[in-house]
């Protein structure tokens, strides 16, 4: 399998994005805004459709669409505080509608390839982009992880402490949008949302520290990608879809692990009481 260059590149890009996606997406999951990650993933598809239909760079348009969608979600969240999820619904509907209509003006099958991605057809430019964006995400989270954690904990307390909440939120969202846009071409815009939320949800079952949760989420995401691509290669399945199924299977395993751990703890405490 690894004797083919396209497979080696597929694994490399998969592992890189497997690190970048849960890191960049963890904040929305911890803030219980996973659905906005889903909406952004769909908006990247609309961006690609606009790019293809208008003869513009699909990747560039995908990034622009993600950033604009993020701004729309935030604007609606601030304007209609009681209906904060409205922005997600608006962006999702708009993205699916735009992508669906513009599909008629693109080459047949081209836009569909963004739904589940085409990780086995990654070119050198996409590889370099994946290396670049992953390096940026890892450096950003390494340097600012305490500030980001403070914002997740409570943004007003962080602001009073001197954290530049607005600026860091903007940079985070920009990085998140770029990661989603690059991932759409390789592992697919529908699949990327599974790697935003599921590895973090799975790692939450371990009930550990913030740093431990982030590390475990990244490991589970990378493991999902490696197992997913391997199974897809031997079973001739779609790699992006297989990665999503593996990620969900790992989540189920983590649920079982937690149930088992809780049962053992309960039994021990009962014994101590007796």
């Amino acid at each position: 399998m690894l004797s083919y260059e396209f497979m080696r590149i597929a694994f490399l890009v998969g592992i890189l994005l497997g690190i970048a996606i849960p890191l960049a997406g963890s904040t929305v999951v911890f803030k219980r805004l996973s659905s906005s990650g889903d909406a952004l993933a769909h908006s990247s598809l609309a961006g690609v459709a606009i790019g293809l239909a208008a003869g513009l760079n699909p990747l560039g348009m995908s990034i622009v669409a993600c950033v604009i969608s993020f701004l729309i979600i935030e604007l609606i969240r601030k304007k209609f505080a009681k209906y904060s999820e409205l922005g997600v619904a608006v962006v999702l509907s708009l993205s699916v509608g735009l992508a669906g209509i513009l599909m008629n003006y693109t080459k047949e099958g081209y836009l569909e390839s963004y739904l589940f991605g085409s990780i086995l057809l990654v070119d050198k430019l996409q590889l370099y982009l994946a290396i670049g964006v992953t390096a940026l995400v890892v450096i950003f989270y390494f340097v600012f992880h305490k500030q980001i954690f403070a914002i997740i904990y409570n943004d007003s307390e962080a602001k009073v402490g001197g954290v530049k909440v607005g600026l860091l939120n903007f940079v985070q969202s920009l990085l998140f949008s770029i990661v989603i846009a690059i991932s759409a071409k390789t592992i697919g815009s529908l699949v990327v949302s599974s790697l935003i939320a599921i590895p973090v949800a799975a790692s939450l079952q371990a009930k550990t520290s913030y740093r431990g949760t982030l590390l475990l989420a990244t490991i589970l995401s990378v493991v999902s990608v490696i197992i997913g691509i391997t199974i897809a290669y031997y079973a001739s399945w779609t790699p992006g879809a297989t990665i999503a199924i593996v990620a969900v299977s790992l989540l189920v395993l983590m649920f079982l692990y937690r149930a088992l751990r809780d049962a053992i703890a309960k039994r021990r405490s009962l014994k101590t009481t007796k």
Binding site: S156, G161, S203
Partner: protein, 217 residues
């Protein structure tokens, strides 16, 4: 020192404060009291500079303020963090500090010891009781050596004993360490020893001395 000079504040659907003026001197223990929805949290947000007044001026000369909000991620039972991770957030400022972990650890341990929760430092916050969580929140506020701590209903969800201990703890922080305390409470008897009480009612803020029994909510 914090001073509000003729401050007004309006929401889209109406005026909340009209021409409010008062002053909190250095090192004072001040209680904010008022009915639900009177605007106590908004008043705190104005004082902290989190929102801007529609009219007037807020003067703030405090060197370091720590804010203890009513709602944090600790309200989420699945939030992944240990006690020491939460307390260390009190040291986070604008600039990243990556290489001062030893000094940070010492300061975190000192704050945990002050709140009598040092043995809990490695525990995951979702395993703690309501009273223990409040202590964690206050340790987070203390760790940065603030000159003023602002607390928004720190007793929310606490039983009677935990509540009494919390108020005693805040008073001893004020008396023993000279830290100014500004806190929202629903219980007038918490404010017996306060230097002043600010009653928020009908768009205005009225000042009373601590222990004054003429305060009517």
């Amino acid at each position: 020192m914090i001073e509000l000079k003729n401050v007004s504040f309006s929401f889209e659907d109406g005026v909340l404060f009209q021409d409010v003026s008062f002053r909190v001197e250095d090192g004072q223990f001040v209680g904010i009291i008022g009915a639900n929805g009177a605007g106590k949290t908004t008043l705190i947000r104005l004082i902290l500079g989190l929102i801007k007044p529609s009219k007037g001026e807020v003067v703030n000369t405090e060197k370091k303020i720590a804010y203890v909000s009513q709602t944090t991620s600790l309200n989420d039972s699945s939030f992944p963090a240990t006690v020491e991770e939460i307390v260390s957030l009190g040291l986070v400022g604008a600039k990243p500090s990556l290489f001062h972990w030893k000094e940070e650890k010492e300061r975190v341990n000192a704050a945990l010891e002050k709140m009598d929760i040092l043995p809990l430092r490695k525990r995951v916050v979702s395993e703690l009781s309501g009273g223990q969580l409040q202590r964690v929140k206050i340790a987070k506020a203390l760790v940065g050596d603030p000159s003023l701590i602002v607390l928004d209903e720190p007793d929310a969800g606490m039983d009677h004993d935990s509540h009494e201990k919390l108020v005693e703890g805040l008073l001893s922080l004020h008396k023993d360490h000279g830290i100014a305390v500004l806190f929202i409470s629903h219980h007038l008897h918490d404010l017996e020893s306060a230097d002043q009480i600010l009653l928020v009612k009908d768009g205005s803020v009225t000042r009373y001395q601590g222990g004054d029994h003429h305060v009517e909510l």
